[in-house]
Symmetry: C2
Amino acid sequence: MNDDPWLSDEQQLAWRTFLEMTAALNARIERDLQQAAGMPHAYYLILAMLSEAPGWSMRMNQLADIVQASQSRLSHAVARLEDYGWVRREQAAGDKRGQLAILTDAGHTRLVEVAPSHAETVRSTMFDPLSDAQLVEFREICATVLTQMKDD
Amino acid sequence: MNDDPWLSDEQQLAWRTFLEMTAALNARIERDLQQAAGMPHAYYLILAMLSEAPGWSMRMNQLADIVQASQSRLSHAVARLEDYGWVRREQAAGDKRGQLAILTDAGHTRLVEVAPSHAETVRSTMFDPLSDAQLVEFREICATVLTQMKDD
């Protein structure tokens, strides 16, 4: 603990603005994905991450990290995605404890259908208001914060 | 829908970095608040927002917007905070449907105890890595995105 833990006025203002922005952004994304595809953002992220993985396949614990879910919340989500026929689960070869989630052809088709409207939400909400310089600054700021967290 | 909904490569990179940064940041804040105070971030935000409201009192629906929770999730959180004796609920005067959440003296005391360690988490994780110029840019970027969402 630092001697002076408090945020400066400028930091406090930035923090509150960031919290408000992410809350409004999350609400917008959830609303648009529900309307366009009847799925929450977490389901979309699971399909998208699997589609970029080798063999459309990832370990459940890796996937939990990426979609920022507890193991139990992820299991619930993947079970729903299995009901839809978009994901299947399989035991990892040579690892009795490891379980894989695998994107199905039907899941890939659904992702490709939904992706344009989701991209439109993100682009129009997050990026259209920003200048090219702000886009670069924003990415650099997020990368800087992320890199330090990984080094901690 | 725009003719070209897709994100540019730079936008896609910024979006993924932002998602990864917020996921790691949320995980860090939840971990630190659990360790320091045994409470999730949503509970902390409820206490903090009430402490800044006139009469330490807010309508439940206002509070739901601010902490980005559904009415049912907020009701559950406020019920837990009532169990701890940190919040009480009251019917809003002249509004049969409106319910107020009110911070208690014990809740205020708990907030004041927890605030320094939470501020330390936010400052060291989010702001220590950033330059003064980046801090200002970050706040301006978040405000720009937020303002456009409110205008939509």
